[in-house]
Symmetry: C2
Subunit: 493 residues, 2 copies
Amino acid sequence: MSHYDQLIAHYQTIHHFNHAQAMLGWDAAANMPAGGSEARSNAMAELSVHVHRLSTQPQLEDWFGHAEQAPLTTEQQASLREMKRQWQQATLVPEKLVQAQSIAGSKCEHTWRTQRQENDWKGFEKNWKEVVALSREEAKIRGEALGLTAYDAMLDKFEPGTTTSSLDMLFTDVKTWLPELIEKALEKQRSDSIILPSGTFSTDRQKALGLEVMKLLQFDFNHGRLDQSVHPFCGGVPSDVRITTRYDEKDFVQALMGIVHETGHARYEQGLPKAFSGLPVGEARSMGIHESQSLFFEMQVGRSKSFISHLSRLSMDAFNAHQDPVFAEENLYKIYTQVEKGFIRVDADELTYPAHVILRYEIERDLINGVIEHTDVPDIWDEKMKASLGLSTQDNYKNGCMQDIHWTDGAFGYFPSYTLGAMYAAQYKASMVKSLDLEVAIESGDLSPIFQWLNDNIWSQASLHSTDELVKRATGETLNAAHFRKHLEGRYL
Amino acid sequence: MSHYDQLIAHYQTIHHFNHAQAMLGWDAAANMPAGGSEARSNAMAELSVHVHRLSTQPQLEDWFGHAEQAPLTTEQQASLREMKRQWQQATLVPEKLVQAQSIAGSKCEHTWRTQRQENDWKGFEKNWKEVVALSREEAKIRGEALGLTAYDAMLDKFEPGTTTSSLDMLFTDVKTWLPELIEKALEKQRSDSIILPSGTFSTDRQKALGLEVMKLLQFDFNHGRLDQSVHPFCGGVPSDVRITTRYDEKDFVQALMGIVHETGHARYEQGLPKAFSGLPVGEARSMGIHESQSLFFEMQVGRSKSFISHLSRLSMDAFNAHQDPVFAEENLYKIYTQVEKGFIRVDADELTYPAHVILRYEIERDLINGVIEHTDVPDIWDEKMKASLGLSTQDNYKNGCMQDIHWTDGAFGYFPSYTLGAMYAAQYKASMVKSLDLEVAIESGDLSPIFQWLNDNIWSQASLHSTDELVKRATGETLNAAHFRKHLEGRYL
């Protein structure tokens, strides 16, 4: 067996344990009774240790060295590159540091749950200091090994190839027009009257409606399911994709669009090429590209007038409420495109969301690069929030830098993916409309041409190309903010 | 770390992978869409290989050797004995034979599915020959290593300590009185009029009813769930026990008692001692003892008049049918104790079931011991079926020796467990009534004293003692058929 083939077999073995891990994780969120959690955590930790051991076996270095000398096809070269990338990611950071990060992250996250409620920055800061210090250490080690700056090395974990300089350029562009666009949209919507849903929307009916919408989006039920969990997510494996949502019986709006969003993630997974199944090159390209699929489904398809017309009809049927003005197309469209300035990123609408992400990006970039200290964060947050959305977070830590869980365990470098995804999605659409009429396809109820485009250009390409190359092949240009701006102006002006 | 402690750590590691395996198996039966099955099979096969590798690591022999010399408490000795037992079971049979069995078993089982429908003994026999030959080889290897006869070595896999001579004694006893008892019961029931359920019993309501019955049986929902699958089973892990059932919307009777049965298995698992969690000594004692719990729940509790009174009330509530005579106590009791001679073991009632098992036991015993050949089986089956239930299976292979899946993949030695379980259950009850009034407890709706007895005598004892010792401690005597006879005579005469 050639070294290349040995690597292929080895990574397929790793994939089988990752399959188990993915399903246990999904089950823990969707099914498991509380009393099962301790044993489950132990089993999952054992699997993690085993996968880490497999991923860092000493002979891999030798195998990679030999395989790189062998004559390989272009696809094999891509496959080798992606295996090596995963190997480097697994071996770069010393196990001792990973453990220290895990302990510090758990501690910070655990105490954050009550500290946030109590707006206790002083308490939080003491634990977070350690998390930041360890992330800086990680960034330094990764950066030195990969020849990248500290923060670029963290970006590389989630968005290989993306750099601070490209993000600075994109986000600086957005900052020149976004604040004014938000003001104009708010002004335009000021006189809108919206009828908000009220009353009981049973979980059963919401689920039935969700399944109808998934059918419209051609989710493959032979290779996946819809279930419930506290935090909606897309999990499982490509041949069996498990998406979840959370139902609020007082309001169906969020769960419904949440299903559209997760279906975007799911169809990407379901569309990954079978030929590379179980191999790194057959996996999704990056967090940002994954988000580009969920956001294409949600923002480019889901919140379009033509799609909301389907949602109107289907929800009237589901709730047997054909006369209820809540479900009227125009009203639903207003609900799904309402702009509001707020403190909380996860509650933000399409238009204000990038402001949250850019603020977050700028802070974590400077924090990891050592330009600012963790104690500077609240003041800088307040300053930037005032500049972008006109909101002060002075002494309001719980709605400022303590608002969500991501930073508590050191997930620095991850936030830009959200807005990159939204930008990619807008750019795909701009390219797609050159060859097909999106509105007509959506109106007809047969969205196949849209999915065919995504399949040809994104899903089937998995990790064969770099992100830049993938996007250039799909759209003819590398990522820029122009299409995103045009999309937002078209919808909100 | 002492060798004993090394062994403890090693078996806990194995347990974590078994946890993953158990949950993936449950998910495959209860949730997985068909398209997910190939990837799931691959992942589960990888886990099996890994568990087998861990279970047969060369250093284990050395560790066991040293640990056996060390000073250990009585409990530690039991723990060591059970770890060693699992190690022996894993190492006794050469991997090559296991693989050959797996291939021959899969082939035989796969073709059996159509051969059974077509009553094609000639076709089946060709594949089964190999399965029988390989099982004989396995039995010989096991027997030589353990100092047991061939069939006893197969029994040892499922019922450690049980021998052909003890089974012969028990079953010979049963055969002296069972045929006459069946005739008398049939005669007694001849004039009974039974109103059978008809109409629609929705899955939702049947499930709600099942959950109520599980509450009455004090199933711990913080450590388990009820779901659906084609073949009902009890899976998962002790801290998270997953039972399943299958609903027939035309009839609620089977699913309901199926839930009672599986709840018996589940409470045994939930009651296993936490102190030995993840270790062989903390696992259920044997297949027969497991079946004794499900059959205690089903036969000693579930089909008693006092429990059927609860089922009557709860099912009337569930189906909102308080006037329907189907649900009347007397009618439900008649349904649940109806005796009928039939070909098929899995459809058999409490009274005729042992006849099926004894027939099966006698044939597989002689087959594995080389007393008969696989081609003799149809004739012997016919002869024994005529003798025990007066039914001929001449040329009727599909309702004779080809009726179920167990023999197709070589599960010889397993069948006696079913009737052993029923006998143990009757013997527990005979002992239990010395200290508590079973009927009063059931009638009151608080069955705690019954569960306390089972917990003290069976569940909490896990595998600390041999089966004989366990039963002797619980009931004051080793297993005999007298209590089983008395129970059946009491119910059916």
